[in-house]
């Protein structure tokens, strides 16, 4: 008997993407569940966590933001190896505003978000015409260079950095601020990437010549994407400055570039939610591994390998596929 595996969409998804009217509770739950559940988790969890894991949650959210910002850029065809640039820029701007001008965090963070994003965009616009790995190389280099420049010129505290920043009132404020922004950015950007505007951005990745041939200025759109992405990264950095009351050269560290990318790849790039999911898995994993001491990073590296090899399409895609599709064996009639 000849058989083959058939895959069937659960159907509701296809229907509901455009049509908003939903008929039954079950369908509504089916659709809203995957969205509400993580949101609820993010909002309720902090109340039950110990002080330390609350800090970890901030880290999770920060890396999730960086990963989303990475993924958003990647969807526009710009693979960045330097999220640290965005992060560091936001961190420094906020740190400087607070340290030298005494601005309270509530003012410094928003300014740093926008200003940091703008600065990063400005720095990177000259290289927007670079493609693929060449663009990646430049993004990798710029944060390294900024570190050395700060080191050489000793500006903004030089190697020691600036410390004693004003903290936010409480850990819970920090958490709700960052998770609020995270959820907003996640759902907002997911929506944005589904619009026609987002489609143009995705088109640039696929085939930028064709986008040009459609009468669209790819540089302008790339600049916009860059600005959106770097703003998100800058926010994460600005927030971290106030959480740790410190800003210094290490904000440009390679970790901030690599971890977001790893998170996005593990979670599944191209979906934004996957990037966030990756961060939600990797960061606590790395913290949990602290328990085993020096072997921690070793295990962490191995986990990265296992994740990417076991689920090459990315966890989010995998889960989504499982959630929305059924597989069954069917007979082939001849």
């Amino acid at each position: 008997m000849k058989k083959r595996r058939e895959r069937i969409d659960r159907g509701i998804k296809a229907r509901s993407e455009d049509v908003y009217a939903l008929s039954s509770w079950r369908e509504m739950l089916y659709l809203a569940g995957p969205r509400l559940l993580p949101a609820a988790a993010f909002l309720l969890l902090p109340l039950f966590l110990g002080a330390y894991w609350q800090k970890v949650m901030i880290s999770v959210a920060v890396f999730a933001l960086l990963a989303i910002s990475w993924d958003m850029l990647a969807q526009t065809g710009m693979i960045s190896l330097g999220q640290a640039l965005f992060f560091g820029m936001g961190a420094y701007v906020s740190g400087i505003l607070n340290f030298y001008f005494g601005m309270p965090p509530w003012i410094a963070i928003p300014i740093a978000t926008v200003l940091g994003g703008a600065l990063c965009t400005l720095i990177l616009t000259p290289v927007l015409r670079l493609r693929g790995i060449y663009f990646s190389m430049v993004t990798l280099i710029i944060p390294l260079m900024l570190v050395r420049i700060i080191e050489a010129t000793k500006i903004f505290g030089g190697t020691e950095g600036l410390s004693g920043m004003t903290p936010l009132p409480s850990t819970l404020t920090e958490i709700y601020l960052v998770t609020g922004v995270l959820l907003g950015v996640l759902f907002g950007l997911r929506r944005l990437m589904e619009t026609d505007y987002g489609l143009v951005l995705k088109g640039i990745r696929d085939n930028d010549r064709s986008v040009t041939n459609a009468g669209i200025d790819i540089f302008w759109f790339k600049t916009q994407a860059l600005f959106i992405s770097s703003t998100i990264g800058a926010f994460a950095g600005a927030l971290m400055t106030h959480v740790y009351m410190f800003v210094g050269m290490p904000v440009f560290a390679l970790d901030y570039s690599i971890l977001p990318m790893a998170a996005a790849v593990v979670g599944g790039s191209g979906t934004l939610a996957g990037a966030a999911l990756g961060a939600v898995i990797l960061v606590p994993l790395s913290e949990a591994l602290r328990g085993i001491g020096g072997l921690r990073i070793v295990m962490y590296g191995l986990f990265l390998v296992v994740f990417t090899v076991a689920v090459p399409e990315g966890l989010f895609d995998y889960i989504q596929r499982r959630y929305h599709q059924m597989e069954r064996w069917v007979e082939i009639d001849q």
Binding site: G203, D206, N213
Partner: protein, 250 residues
């Protein structure tokens, strides 16, 4: 005829390395004309299209569109001025479904301007256009990722993308190659319709029979130079054309 000139190419050259792909070429296209360009492989036809659409900048010479110099204008601006072209080697957005491929041209400033700020449901427009060029609406080709479509569909997708921009001047680079007769027959009405609407069309083809049936005028290129220009029958009589293009027995 004294129709106004839509496109005027003046003494244009493009040199790659040491070889001139287009060599001091001049030509004119009038409004509403359908001009066919033929020529042996590597004679510079695609390069000429690239020059007109601004993707390649010439070594010398200039290009006028409706009297305006567009030689060094950025390609996306040229598109917005009303020149759109298809690619000989198809360039779809491989990861997007076919109908989403159409959204991107529909998003261009040109379309938005023409529609006066109201452009309705782009998805619907996209599907209509695809249907027009022969994507059957129910067989869900239009919803498949472009990367999995066969060549023939991709060719027609290219055409649909170009038409979506409602161009004044449409340049089709080897549209018919890779299509069967039946498909050509299904696409020709689309082109005819554009002509009736007064659009100017340039077609590059190796499928002469089909081309001659619809072209007003044929230009023949060889080694980047124009070696003949005129009605199809006239052009085919030329010895030079026979030798360079059709092979010995014509």
């Amino acid at each position: 005829m004294s129709l106004p000139t839509t496109l005027r190419v003046e003494n244009i050259s493009k040199i790659f390395g040491r070889v001139a792909a287009v060599d001091h070429l001049s030509c004119e296209v009038r409004r509403g004309e359908l001009v066919g360009i033929i020529g042996p492989n590597g004679s510079g036809k695609t390069t000429l299209v690239n020059l007109i659409s601004g993707f390649v900048k010439p070594t010398s010479g200039r290009i006028l569109y409706n009297g305006q110099d567009i030689t060094y204008t950025a390609p996306h601006k040229i598109v917005c001025m009303g020149i759109s072209r298809t690619f000989q080697m198809v360039r779809p957005f491989y990861h997007l479904p076919a109908y989403k491929n159409m959204i991107i041209p529909l998003y261009s400033p040109r379309v938005r301007q023409l529609a006066g700020g109201r452009y309705g449901d782009r998805n619907a427009v996209a599907l209509d256009l695809l249907e027009e060029v022969g994507f059957e609406r129910d067989a869900n080709v239009a919803y498949k990722p472009a990367g999995t479509l066969p060549q023939g569909y991709l060719k027609r997708l290219e055409l649909a993308k170009a038409i979506a921009l409602s161009p004044e001047l449409l340049i089709l680079d080897e549209l018919f190659s890779g299509m069967s007769l039946a498909e050509v027959a299904s696409v020709v009405p689309v082109i005819e319709k554009l002509r009736l609407a007064g659009k100017t069309i340039i077609m590059i083809e190796h499928r002469l029979k089909e081309l001659f049936r619809i072209a007003d005028r044929i230009m023949v290129l060889n080694y980047g130079q124009k070696i003949a220009d005129g009605a199809s029958t006239e052009v085919m009589e030329s010895d030079e054309v026979k030798k360079a293009y059709l092979g010995s027995e014509g």
